[in-house]
Amino acid sequence: MDRLDPLEAFVDRVTSAQQGLFAYILSLVAHVDDAKDVLQETNLILWRKREEYRMDAPFWPWAKTIAHYQILAFIKRRGRDRLRFGDLLLARLAEDAAAFDGQSVDVEQTALDQCIEELAPPKRELIELRYSDDIGLAEISRKTGRSPGAIADALYRIRGQLADCIRNKLTGREEDR
């Protein structure tokens, strides 16, 4: 009774993989808008190929492979119409990302939520301006009276701090077990 219909189960897996796929794609295409486009195309391909997927097989490697091909197709199609990484670097980054585990992103996201709460208010507000309000560097610079370079530097440091915090929380969590 509780078992999902195969189609529902497939939808469930695609749903669960969205954030991981987005992070994976973004790491290779670098631009958020491009990553969203590729994610859409990946979702369509996943749907079209749903019959090829065996429900007893791991979903993430299959989905990541399809996403990877969609990235390559996207870059080939769009060429260098905006600043993009060259083929050689893309291949290197893809090699690095081979071990990318999209399934852990959900857990990391939970840790991230906690880490954001632990940020000093000024840092938290800067991150919120950048991501919640989706404000670019120039606008943040205008609002704060700080140079775009200083804002970029601050965001870089905060992201680094959040990465450290996530790692510590997840490591601590594993140690607790």
């Binding site: 749903t15 954030q19 987005f22 670098a30 749907w47 208010p121 680094g160």
Partner: protein, 595 residues
């Protein structure tokens, strides 16, 4: 934190990948680093992973706002969110259901793509009072408003710093050593904190002023002030160590001294001041209602006998204040420049008004660009409807009665518009026409968006886009020869306290475009005066001369800036389509004087 110390420029490059602004050269540099250094690539992956998670953390909410009710908890991906289940169990799992799921999923996938591209901005501001407990952030934090202004803020500690535009969560504390900080609540209330001051946002409709001063102005969005009993919105209240000040509509100030004494003053409307020691219940509470111009102080009274140190002996009393404290009621940011197009169009120079002008023969405002001849009556015409514009005039041929052309209201006049000039070694008299066409006009950048498809037949529109004359994209001040306008710099200084016009900047040019008589060529003179003294001129200016930058310095006490155009040596004023592109007055703090 992963680091790559061998590449000091790597952090800036990685940040630009995530936040934008990477140039082609920087991309090349970044590629070189990432190709050769695996630790740099690790740093890149780390940044991008956190970047992706941060984006994802807020992005689904923005995305879903186009299709879902904001109260609905956010699934991670709307296109594939679990289906609602009003369906019977026999239906679920059946072939029809499967088909439906497949169809809906595919449609939603496609629609999800549309939502990505066309969803409007998610407005965090629109959470009303009645939903004050509604969460606005992913971690159930309640946001009550935003920081809407700051001036010269120095902070008591790093934890209390903030930036303009930041959301204000409940329980946030702001501690200023000096400066001004403005918080605008979602209810419409606006609070200006004046350092030194410590203020904690302890409710969606107020806060706790521990020490220092604040001014609160309570307005409903759009329609006057909120009044008691208006129903859906609680009253705005400020708590202090000794009192609770509740707004009954409009504006008041509160000052809390170091010992907790609270002085309240009403600028407009009414407030209720309820006295009581914070944390000791309601015993002994008294309250007074204050109206506009009234002030009261609530102070602690300590008994002098031996038990005076116990909390139960704390009492408060009302005292009339002889001299209420001074409060800052507006957060004033002086402009860095004044837009002369905005001024000519009726604004104060800080806005973006366009498509208005001035009739140089009367000084009255023109709301339509009329391509008609204006003839000089040899008079200077004051502009009564705008304090920043002293007047306008049409330069004319001197006569026995009017030998000089008056160029400002103080009586300064000039007689050099008509002069003798050398042309091919021959001394030739250049006579001003005493006429102009179309008035003084503030044209928008895009003439078609400004006026629609109609009424763009005048020279200011026919001359073309004129992009070369407006590098900053502000617009064009059209001053067909011969005409003049004088701005009142002193009036500007009085309005914008703390700053003064320091220079007049513009890009001048002579428009050229399709016209009735193509064989005619424009040629005009441009004159700039300060207090009647000629400071700059350009004679016989033609279209082929292109765009020319002007930057005329202004002294602290200069009163009038006059800009005039006259026909050039060719003796005709036809097609003398002079424009001043992006005309602005650069403002400078009055305390900074050039040697």
């Amino acid at each position: 934190m992963t680091s790559a110390p061998s590449h000091p420029d790597l952090p800036a490059l990685l940040s630009k990948v995530a936040d934008g602004g990477l140039t082609a050269q920087e991309l090349e540099r970044l590629e070189a680093i990432l190709l050769e250094d695996s630790s740099a690539r690790a740093a890149y992956h780390q940044q991008m992973r956190v970047h992706a998670m941060l984006y994802w953390r807020w992005n689904p909410k923005r995305k879903e706002s186009a299709t879902l009710e904001p109260q609905v908890p956010a699934p991670s991906f709307p296109a594939l969110s679990p289906l609602p289940s009003p369906l019977s169990s026999s239906f679920v799992g059946g072939p029809v259901f499967s088909y439906l799921v497949a169809t809906v999923v595919l449609c939603l996938m496609l629609l999800g793509g549309w939502a990505y591209k066309i969803s409007p901005d998610y407005d965090l501001n629109v959470v009303d009072n009645s939903r004050s407990s509604t969460t606005s952030g992913p971690m159930d934090r309640v946001y009550v408003g935003r920081i809407t202004g700051m001036k010269d803020c120095r902070w008591a500690n790093e934890e209390t710093q903030t930036v303009v535009g930041a959301s204000v969560p409940l329980a946030r504390e702001y501690a200023l050593i000096s400066g001004l900080l403005q918080i605008t609540y979602k209810t419409g209330a606006r609070v200006i904190l004046e350092g030194p001051c410590t203020y904690k946002v302890d409710s969606t409709v107020g806060g706790y002023l521990k020490t220092g001063k604040l001014t609160a102005r309570v307005e409903t969005k759009g329609s006057g002030f909120r009044v008691q009993g208006s129903g859906h919105s609680p009253l705005f209240a400020v708590c202090t160590p000794t009192a609770i000040i509740t707004d009954l509509g409009t504006e008041f100030g509160v000052e809390v001294s170091e010992n907790g004494d609270t002085t309240s003053y009403v600028f407009e409307g009414k407030i209720v001041v309820k006295a009581g020691i914070r944390g000791f219940g309601d015993s002994g509470i008294r309250e007074v209602q204050l109206g506009a111009g009234e002030s009261v102080m609530v102070g602690r009274v300590r008994e002098t006998h031996q038990d005076s140190g116990t909390a139960s002996q704390d009492m408060v009393r009302f005292t009339q204040t002889a001299t209420p404290p001074k409060f800052v009621r507006r957060l004033y940011e002086p402009p860095k420049q004044l837009d002369l197009l905005d001024i000519v169009a009726g604004g104060n120079g800080t806005g973006n008004r366009r498509e208005r002008g001035i009739d140089p023969s009367t000084g009255k405002q023109d709301t339509w660009f009329l391509e008609v001849n204006y003839n000089s009556d040899s008079q200077y015409h004051s502009v009564k409807w705008h304090s920043f514009i002293d007047g306008v005039f049409i330069p004319y041929v001197p006569t026995f009665r009017f030998q000089k052309v008056q160029i400002d209201s103080s009586g300064n006049a000039y007689d050099g518009f008509t002069d003798d000039r050398d042309i091919d070694g021959v001394r030739t008299t250049c006579t001003v026409s005493g006429k102009t066409i179309g008035g003084i006009w503030a044209r928008a950048v895009d003439k078609y968006s400004a006026k629609g498809d109609t009424d763009t037949s005048g020279w200011i529109y026919v001359m073309g886009k004129g992009e070369q004359y407006m590098p900053s994209g502000r617009g064009l001040l059209g001053m067909h020869a011969s005409t003049g306008i004088t701005f009142d710099l002193e009036a500007m200084r009085k309005t914008f306290v703390g700053v003064r016009p320091a220079s007049f900047q513009a890009t001048i040019g002579l428009g050229d475009g399709p016209r009735t008589y193509p064989e005619l060529s424009g040629m005009a003179d441009i004159w700039i005066f300060i207090d009647g003294q000629l400071k700059w001129k350009r004679l016989n200016f033609c279209h082929k001369d292109g765009a020319a930058q002007i930057d005329i310095p202004l002294k602290p006490n200069d009163r009038f800036l006059t800009i005039a155009t006259t026909n050039g040596l060719n003796g005709t004023y036809y097609v003398d389509w002079i424009v001043f592109g992006d005309p602005v007055l650069r403002m400078e703090p009055t305390t900074v004087e050039k040697p």
